[in-house]
Symmetry: C2
Subunit: 752 residues, 2 copies
């Protein structure tokens, strides 16, 4: 026994002798085994071990529950019956050595383990009802695109060169155009489908497959075609939209410059109107003003929507979009246009990103996309929007569709990763107690904690994203054909949409990066093989946090919008009024806390949707109020609002995140009220609890600091998250199955 783990140091041998002596056991018999000066040789111990094993094999399994029991059984088989005192003494030694229980016995035997069947994974809810419920608008289009992706024309090929990959993606894009999917969102009179909902659904579904194709598709039909559709007037629609939709005219969306990506307001490309020639001269004044990272530019694009500082009548008019031909039919760059290739990228290598430099390129006046500003026949600048700032943000409003789309696509990529990781984790075994079957990975609490809160967040985000799509589509339909003027009254609605799109884009893409990484790691070496898709998912989705608006910049935009809303609501309070308001609000907060703060830790309380909503909303409101006070104080002290907000940037980003998380919860709560069946409702309820509590747990420090929780409650929430993970675990497979990731997109992976 003493030597069973072969790790007895000299001091331990001494100890053991003391204990034997103290227990009144006969010392002499074991002396030869316990002399620290002359420990038994390995040879002798090996022989002893063989002997014990041999004898142990004859003992009935039920008497092998501990080494003491086994030893006594062997002794009894030889007709020797230890006294009660002897037994007690041996037990004490066993405990002192930490060798109690069946583990120590099991190490004597063969490591071969029994094989156990996998547990039942049948859904305990109506899977199709769930899939339909979480599937989002335009389900027929989703089904159609899934079928298309499986029809043999869309097959990824390993080991392609960048040139080959780009060619393949262009080919795929053409198939989609031929199927009419590219033009789905354009008006029917210009060859489109007049169905923006289906366009978004197509985009979201393509993201299950290849993200280079997704991006190329988005650049051509969303950004390029979309800019003509949304920033141009009828003339442009007639001239270009049909060709954009059929891919007869491949195009670019040239906004970012090398030195100005997020800060579009300060881009440096110029577009100067020459009234004599009725032409606009597009020019790159400094090298850093070249258009950079432009999708479709390096290989295919022929026409580009170029954003530039427009100058008319000798005066700067701010950023406007001008259509500039960049390549001829022969594929060669046109005169005055220099095109570079951005080269290899971290991912999305099927997209031909490039750089555009313009050397005084002249285009006709009509090439100005003039929905919001035009140049008249006399060369005068005209715009229905008076304020340059307002005009700028109206034009940038066209970016909303891209943000809605990227958030949706990020979620699809996340779903693929979770489907693969959960299915693998529910099948793969690793380690186990001696003599028993190895345990299923997903039965380990750490594995559950790694995947299941992220699964719950994916569900919650799904509802929020689909709500956003619906809101966006409603706004699009309402705004269709508008000149922009009549939207003035809708400023609040528009701003809400923009902030919601920015916040959800940031949260969904960060969630994607984080979850895909967690999924990769949770699949170990398997996750590293390209055929299991994490390679592409990780690399290709990585830039989602950057393009269509850098996430940090977007979250600041959310914070600014919250402050604007706050100001509009309480603006005339002034600095003093704000302080009075804060005091009043603090009183109200304490009153609210009586409810949310309560030390209740019952399961019913911790799973109460009212509790979740109150807590996340309180956090959002408190953070916003304290942010407003800090910013106001700084401005009152003479800072520009820019510096004041920068000084509170960490706070602002925290408030923005708290706001978005609270909104996501509300989308999920609203969805729960619409659930089609009790089975679906039951599991959505668990997922919402997991999302809410995991979100609260992550920010437990704040709730403790602010007195919303006492320490036992904080601990109870941690335990509740662990418990919810264990509860969700048996239905983890049906819950990822309901994502409806097309099987063709999992082919060859461990997720099938």
């Amino acid at each position: 026994m003493a030597w069973a783990d072969g790790e007895l140091a000299s001091e331990e041998l001494e100890q053991l002798r003391d204990q034997i002596r103290g227990a009144g056991l006969p010392e002499g018999a074991l002396a030869e085994w316990l002399d620290p000066g002359a420990p038994p040789s390995a040879e002798r111990l090996l022989h002893l071990l063989d002997e014990v094993r041999w004898r142990a094999a004859e003992v009935l399994p039920e008497r092998r529950r501990s080494l003491t029991e086994l030893g006594i059984a062997i002794a009894e088989a030889d007709g020797e019956y230890p006294t009660r005192e002897e037994r007690a003494a041996i037990l004490r030694i066993e405990e002192a050595l930490g060798l109690g229980g069946p583990d120590a016995v099991a190490t004597l035997f063969d490591p071969a383990r029994p094989i156990a069947p996998l547990p039942d994974v049948r859904p305990r809810f109506d899977r199709d009802a769930m899939a339909g419920f979480i599937g989002g608008p335009a389900p027929e289009t989703r089904r159609r695109v899934c079928a298309l992706l499986a029809d043999g024309r869309f097959e990824t090929v390993a080991g392609l060169s960048t040139a080959e990959y780009r060619a393949l993606v262009s080919e795929w894009c053409r198939v989609l155009a031929d199927e009419g999917l590219g033009a789905l969102g354009y008006p029917a009179e210009f060859g489109g489908g007049g169905d923006p909902a289906s366009f978004i659904a197509t985009f979201e579904t393509l993201a299950y497959f290849d993200l280079s194709l997704l991006t190329k598709f988005g650049v051509q039909f969303g950004l390029f075609g979309g800019s003509i559709h949304q920033l141009g007037s009828r003339r442009h629609h007639e001239k270009y939209l049909r060709d954009a939709g059929t891919l007869a005219l491949p195009g670019c969306f040239a906004m970012s410059e090398t030195l100005h990506g997020s800060n579009v307001y300060d881009i440096q490309t110029t577009a100067v109107y020459d009234p004599g020639a009725h032409e606009i001269v597009v020019h790159t004044p400094v090298p850093g003003a070249r258009k950079d990272y432009i999708g479709n530019a390096a290989r295919d694009g022929r026409l580009a929507t170029v954003f530039a500082q427009l100058e008319v009548e000798g005066e700067g008019r701010g950023v406007h979009a001008v259509l500039v031909p960049i390549r001829g039919e022969d594929g060669k760059p046109l005169s005055g246009v220099t095109i570079e290739d951005c080269g290899e990228k971290l991912g999305l290598n099927g997209v031909d990103n490039g750089r555009l430099t313009f050397d005084r390129v002249r285009v006709p006046r009509e090439n100005l996309l003039d929905r919001f500003a035009s140049i008249d026949d006399e060369g005068a600048y005209r715009s229905p929007i008076a304020s340059p700032a307002r005009r700028f943000f109206t034009m940038l409003g066209t970016l909303v569709s891209g943000r809605v789309a990227v958030g949706s696509a990020a979620l699809s990529a996340t779903k693929v990763a979770l489907t693969i990781a959960v299915r693998y984790g529910a099948r793969r075994r690793q380690f186990g107690p001696p003599g028993e079957a190895e345990r299923i990975l997903l039965d380990y609490p750490a594995h559950q904690r790694r995947l299941l809160p992220r699964l719950a967040t994916t569900y919650a985000l799904g509802f929020a994203i689909h709500d956003l799509q619906t809101e966006y589509l409603a706004a699009t339909t309402a705004g269709e054909g508008d000149s922009g003027e009549s939207e003035v009254g809708d400023a609040a609605r528009r701003r809400h949409l923009e902030a919601a799109a920015a916040g959800l884009k940031a949260c969904a893409t960060w969630h994607a990066t984080d979850t895909i990484q967690a999924c990769r790691e949770s699949c170990g070496g398997r996750g590293y093989l390209a055929n299991n898709r994490f390679a592409a998912l990780k690399a290709d989705s990585d830039v989602f946090t950057t393009f269509e608006g850098d996430n940090t910049v977007l979250m600041q935009l959310v914070a600014k919008d919250l402050l604007t809303g706050f100001r509009q609501q309480f603006g005339d309070l002034g600095a003093l009024g704000l302080a009075r308001f804060a005091a009043a609000r603090a009183g109200r907060a304490i009153a609210e806390r009586n409810w949310v703060v309560s030390r209740k830790t019952s399961e019913a309380h911790l799973r109460d949707p009212g509790f979740h909503d109150a807590v996340l909303d309180a956090r959002r409101s408190d953070l916003l109020l304290s942010l407003a006070r800090r910013v106001t104080r700084r401005i009152a002290g003479g800072m520009t609002s820019f510096d004041a907000l920068t000084d509170c940037q960490h706070h602002a980003l925290t408030a923005a995140r708290a706001h978005v998380e609270s909104e996501i919860l509300r989308s999920m709560l609203a969805a729960e009220r619409r659930t089609p069946s009790s089975g679906v409702a039951e599991w959505l309820d668990r997922l919402r609890c997991l999302y809410a509590l995991a979100t609260i747990e992550r920010d437990a420090a704040w709730f403790l600091e602010e007195g919303y929780f006492d320490p036992p409650k904080s601990r109870a929430i941690r335990r509740a998250v662990t418990a919810l993970c264990a509860e969700v675990r048996p239905q983890a497979i049906p819950l990822v199955d309901a994502f409806d990731v097309p099987p063709s997109c999992l082919e060859g992976s461990i997720g099938l």
Copy 2:
């Protein structure tokens, strides 16, 4: 003014009219501008705006500080002097509209911004002293390898096919072998350098360059050659070591199997001794037992160290290592050996990972690596280590070197990423207050918080890793030539080394994944371009969290080791004793808390190394004690120790992490006591504060829960982290420069 941001909705117009009325201003004059039923046309507003701009240009800049002031200045220029009451009323309206301050004025003018020079980035400490101090053992070797990497033979080539990339990496590997770097760690009598310190330094330095080369180098010279060196006897050293070191004999380390990666104890490949033929029969009994992810297997390897369940005299002897030839000189697989290619991977595509399946392959008895167990001439199994478990862990102890190496390499990769991101962030400008130069990215608090605590952690981890290297080298030198028997007394030391290697490998590789990602995102679109290295760094280092031991499994190993240490220290307390001990300890903890808990929030206190150490140590001890109690209680209740620990897995992983973080701090504190100059000491002090406080901040919830902090202290720590970031920021460039990443490894990137 009212229309300045062009965003006045109907209600706001109403409000404005009310205010004008309330202020006693003449209402009539403005009526035409404020009729919600008929708002002024854009044309009129545009004209007004042009007029205002024109007039504003004539006003002295010092009178443009607000719209009110500007308006009054224009009025005064026309000879109209508003009364004091009128001025006050206009000011009130300005405030109500939130249009106070210079921002609103600036929006009237041109967006073109002044250009500002970059701030001074000269080091305020002795840069070379810092670089030398943090550089780790064997500096001459590091310099030599850096020079080698820059000598023209090591140049990455974009756009290679996998086959070409593999060939290039093999070629590079040969250059390193020719330079004698591969054999650096082997004894001189077998053609080696007898200098394990330099071998590790080489490995750590190679990680600045190409991680495929690093991995290939590690597989050949570290794992394959190292297994022969550490598991074989003199016979094997004489026969193979020279050829392994010169790359004349490319080899593999075949441990992982498709179904058993982390759980090596249960691998299924068999090695049955045939006493008649004096041969060992190596066999893959089931498909899942094929060796998988084996580096060097798909293309180059000729001999493999195969881990298998050895059976001698009809009895299972546990996992042993056997040398099995897999390819002939012609590069073809040998009879009975099936070799598959793992194909494309997420990264490290210059490494030829493959799968090996054995169909009753016979090798001579001598191919058993027999340092710890042998088969004698009579076919009897002999081992100087009696316990199979002990033997198993002794053999696996050879994995320690790999873990030390991977942790070191992860840190080098992290240093490359930080060098690029910090240098870019200190140069790139983005946004700014109207009319001022754009701000430098790294001057934004959020950007600082993203990069600088990770910079501090990289410094801290560097000291811990170099301490680990030193400890490992001391143990290697001490153990050189040992049979294993005499190490029994060193069990505690060995276990400490193993646990330290496991814990630091996990923390350093997670830190690498996290930091490289943060660096990529902080460089925006630039970070996505392959030439800026994040593509390769991310993809290639990603598997570091998995290979040489999955991080989660390793952290559990750390937790188990802590429990073992705890048991050895308090084992004879029993369940009751443990409860008594916990009570006593709780008393002591409270006494300790009197010091650490104190509500002090002074800067001196928050930056006190004693405070940092006490807090992180208290966390480690508390978590371990509560873990021990929970596990003991479960075992007492009849669970196996496996299930007990699994049940507390989240707790165990948290305790392990707290332990490693506390050890990292101690390494940094010890380093500070050795600093060569006061300048170096001053900046290390700041970095240590930042590491410690950021680590504490991340776990603030725990400290609040346990009563170590009150809320004001928790907030003070958050503020201190932000303040430290701002303090470190001006020296961020010198601090990454001190990493000494070779310029050749930054070529073509934004980090140069």
